[in-house]
C-alpha cells in the first residue's frame, strides 16, 4: 500500500442516517480502500463471525451430500412424496430459491433503469445472492426426478432415439427460463465485476493475488472508449434482464397455473408469483446485508437509507402478494366452481394443513404491516426479524400451494396426505448451507460492493455540492 492510502483509509465509518446513501468524508480513494479492504485484509483479520458462520454452513453442505447420496442410492421414495402428493419439498424449495434470486436481478436491472442511486451499494451483493440462490434452486428439478441420471433428456439434442423434448410442457419452459436466467445472471454479475477486479489487481499486496485478479480483470484499463461500450452493454443487459426476471417467475408459476389442479389452476399466478419473488428476495437481501455491514463496519456504505428503501419495497411487494391471496380466494368463491371452492375451504380450515395457511398469512401479510411505521423501519433488529419472518412466510406460501392443493383434488377416493421425512429436511437445510457457504466465500474473496459505481456516487455528490455552492 502507498502512504496516501494509509491516511485515507481511516475515515470514520459512521452511518450518515436515513437520507444519505454514503457516509461523510468519502472521496474516490476512501470508498475504494474501504471496500477493497474487506477483501485484501489479512486472512486472520476476517471477523470471527465469518468463520463461525462458514463452519455451520459447511456442516449443512455435508448434510446435503449425505442426503443426496441416500436419495440416489434408494430413490425419491426416501422423501415423503406419495400419491396423490407427488411433489413435495423439492418443488417448494425450488420455487422458494428461485424467488429469492429475483431480488438481485431486480436491484441491479430494474433499479438501474429507474436510476435509483441507492441500489449501488447493494447491487453487487444482491447479484451474488441471485447466483447462489439460482444454483440452489437449480439442484431441485434434477434431484426430484425419479431417474435423475436421465435429466439431460429434457434438453433438445439429437439422439439415437430421435426423440425430443415436448415443448408444450411448462417443465421445458422451466429448463429454458432457468438456464437462461442463470447464464444471464452470471454474465451480468461478472460484467459488473470487471472494473473492480482491475482495482483489486492494482491494489492487491502480493504478486499471486495481483496475478489472479489480473487474469480475471481481462486487462481492464478504464479507457473512455471501453467505458462507453461497457455502459451500453450494461444498460442493454439491464434492459433484457428486466423482462427476463419477470418471465422467469411467471414461467415457474405456469408449472402450477397450466395444470388443472384446483388451487393451481389460477390466472393470477404470474404477477403474484413475481411480486412474491421480489418480496422474498428483498427479505433475503436484508437478512444477509444487516449482519455483514455490521461485521465489516460498512454502515457508511450500506446506510439506513438502504435499509429503509428495502423495507419499503418489501412492504409494497408484500401488499401485492396480499392482494394476490385475496384475489385467489375471491375468484375461487366468485367462479362458483365446486372444486375450486373446495380447494380453498380445504386450504383454510378443512384439510390437515389449514394451520400452514394461517401462519403464512401471519408471516406474509400481518406482521410486515409493522413496516408502515418509520420507527420500525429505522430499527435494525426489527427489520431483520421481519425479514426472517417473511422468508419463512414465503416458503410456507409455496408449501400451501404445492402440497395442500395436491392432497385433495377431484376424486375424493384418492385424497391423501404428505409427511416430510428427515431426508426432505436435510436436503432443504443442505441447500441453505450451500447458499451461505458461497455467500461467505464471495464476501471474503470479491468486492461485495461495486467500487466503481460508488466512485460515481461520490462524483455525483461532489457535483451536487458544487451546484449548491453557487
Amino acid at each position: 500500500m502507498k502512504p496516501e492510502d494509509q491516511e485515507s483509509t481511516n475515515v470514520a465509518t459512521l452511518d450518515p442516517g436515513p437520507d444519505k446513501i454514503i457516509g461523510p468524508g468519502h472521496d474516490y480513494g476512501t470508498v475504494t480502500d474501504e471496500i477493497s479492504g474487506v477483501v485484501l485484509r489479512p486472512f486472520l483479520k476476517t471477523p470471527p463471525q465469518m468463520f463461525i458462520g462458514f463452519a455451520i454452513a459447511f456442516i449443512l453442505v455435508n448434510l446435503l451430500m449425505v442426503a443426496v447420496t441416500w436419495l440416489f442410492v434408494r430413490g425419491v421414495g426416501v422423501w415423503g412424496i406419495t400419491m396423490p402428493v407427488a411433489w413435495g419439498f423439492a418443488i417448494v424449495n425450488f420455487v422458494w430459491w428461485i424467488g429469492i434470486g429475483h431480488a438481485g436481478t431486480l436491484i441491479s436491472a430494474i433499479l438501474l433503469l429507474l436510476k435509483q442511486d441507492w441500489r449501488t451499494s447493494i447491487n453487487r451483493f444482491a447479484e451474488a445472492m441471485t447466483l447462489f440462490a439460482v444454483a440452489c434452486a437449480g439442484m431441485f428439478p434434477v434431484l426430484h426426478l425419479g431417474r435423475p441420471w436421465l435429466a439431460y433428456w429434457l434438453l433438445p439434442y439429437p439422439n439415437t432415439m430421435w426423440l425430443w423434448p415436448q415443448p408444450r410442457s411448462p417443465l421445458i419452459w422451466d429448463v429454458f427460463a432457468v438456464s437462461t436466467y442463470a447464464t444471464v445472471s452470471i454474465i451480468f454479475w461478472f460484467t459488473g465485476l470487471i472494473p473492480d477486479l482491475a482495482t483489486m489487481r492494482d491494489k492487491a499486496g502480493n504478486a499471486t493475488t495481483r496475478k489472479i485478479f489480473g487474469v480475471l480483470a481481462l486487462g481492464w484499463r478504464g479507457s473512455a472508449k471501453h467505458w462507453a461500450r461497457y455502459q451500453k452493454a450494461y444498460l442493454l443487459l439491464a434492459g433484457l434482464s428486466t423482462p427476463l426476471v419477470i418471465s422467469v417467475h411467471s414461467v415457474v408459476s405456469f408449472d402450477f397455473a397450466v395444470a388443472i389442479l384446483p388451487g393451481w389452476h389460477t390466472t393470477i399466478f404470474p404477477p403474484y408469483f413475481v411480486a412474491g419473488a421480489i418480496y422474498s428476495g428483498f427479505a433475503m437481501v436484508l437478512t444477509l446485508a444487516i449482519p455483514v455491514r455490521r461485521w465489516y463496519h460498512l454502515e457508511d456504505l450500506i446506510t439506513m437509507r438502504h435499509i429503509e428503501c428495502m423495507s419499503k419495497v418489501m412492504l409494497g411487494t408484500g401488499l401485492i402478494v396480499a392482494y394476490g391471496y385475496a384475489m385467489e380466494a375471491f375468484m375461487a368463491w366468485y367462479s362458483g366452481g365446486q372444486f375450486e371452492r373446495y380447494a380453498f375451504v380445504n386450504r383454510m380450515w378443512e384439510g390437515g394443513y389449514w394451520w400452514t395457511y394461517w401462519i403464512l398469512i401471519l408471516c406474509n401479510i400481518a406482521i410486515p404491516q409493522l413496516l408502515w411505521s418509520r420507527r420500525v423501519r429505522m430499527s435494525i433488529p426489527a427489520v431483520f426479524v421481519i425479514a426472517l419472518i417473511v422468508n419463512v412466510g414465503m416458503w410456507l406460501e409455496r408449501f400451501v400451494i404445492v402440497v395442500t392443493s395436491l392432497t385433495r383434488d377431484f376424486v375424493p377416493s384418492s385424497w391423501g396426505t404428505y409427511y416430510p421425512t428427515i431426508w426432505d429436511w436435510s436436503t432443504y437445510l443442505g441447500t441453505i448451507g450451500v447458499f451461505l457457504c458461497l455467500m461467505f466465500l464471495f464476501i471474503r474473496g470479491l468486492p461485495a460492493i461495486s467500487i466503481f459505481e460508488m466512485r460515481e456516487v461520490v462524483h455525483h455528490n461532489a457535483e451536487s455540492e458544487h451546484a449548491h455552492r453557487d
Binding site: M161, W162, D202, R210, K211, G214, L218, G219
Partner: protein, 217 residues
Amino acid sequence: MAQLFPRSSNSLAKIIIAAVVLTGGGVLWAAYTLNAGSFTTGVDVAVDQSIPFSHKHHVADDGIDCRYCHTSVETSSFAGLPPTETCMSCHSQIWANAPMLEPVRESFRSGKSLEWVRVHDLPDFVYFNHSIHVNKGIGCSTCHGRVYTMPLTYKTNTLYMRWCVECHRNPEKHVRPRDQVFNPTYETPAPNQSEIGPRLVAQYKIQSLTDCVTCHR
C-alpha cells in the same frame, strides 16, 4: 506500475479462448462419432460363438432357406433358433465327426442345450415381432444385411430406435414382394423401388406405425 503480464499474454489469451471453443466442439463431435461407431453399436463386429457357425457356408454354399432353421419367423414374434436336432439332421451324416461340431453332438447326447450369443439384441423394453414384418413384405436382409456373406454373423445395422423409426415412417422405401422376403440376395431399396414401393404398401395394407406402443409396452 510494472506490467503484470508479458506482451505475449495478449496473444496467449486469444489462443486459449480459441482452444477452449475448439476442444468443446471437438469433444462433442468425438462423443457423437464414438456413439455411432461400432464400439457402442456393435455393427460389423463378428460375435464369437461356441461353434463358429457360418451363414455364408449354409446359405450361400448349401442354399438352405432361412426358415429351415428359423422356423417360427412367419408365425411368431421370435424367429426361432434351431434345436440341436435340426443341426444333427444333417450333421449325423455329413461332417459326422468333425471336431468342430463336437459341441453339437455333445448337446445332442447329453440333452444339454447349445448356447448362442445374441447378435441382434434389442433392449428388453422393445417388443419386436418377426411374423408381422415378414408377412408385410419386409425381408430378412433389410435388417440383417447380407447374412449369406458372413462366415461369422455380425449385425449390419445399429438397431437404434432412430433406425427403426426411419423405416416405420417410409415403409415404401424398404418393402419388397412377399415372394422375395426370404431371398437373401435381394437388396432394398430395389432399382425399381420408387415404382413397386407405393404399390406394395397399398397392396399389403402397410401402415406406418410410429406410435410408442407399437414397440413399447
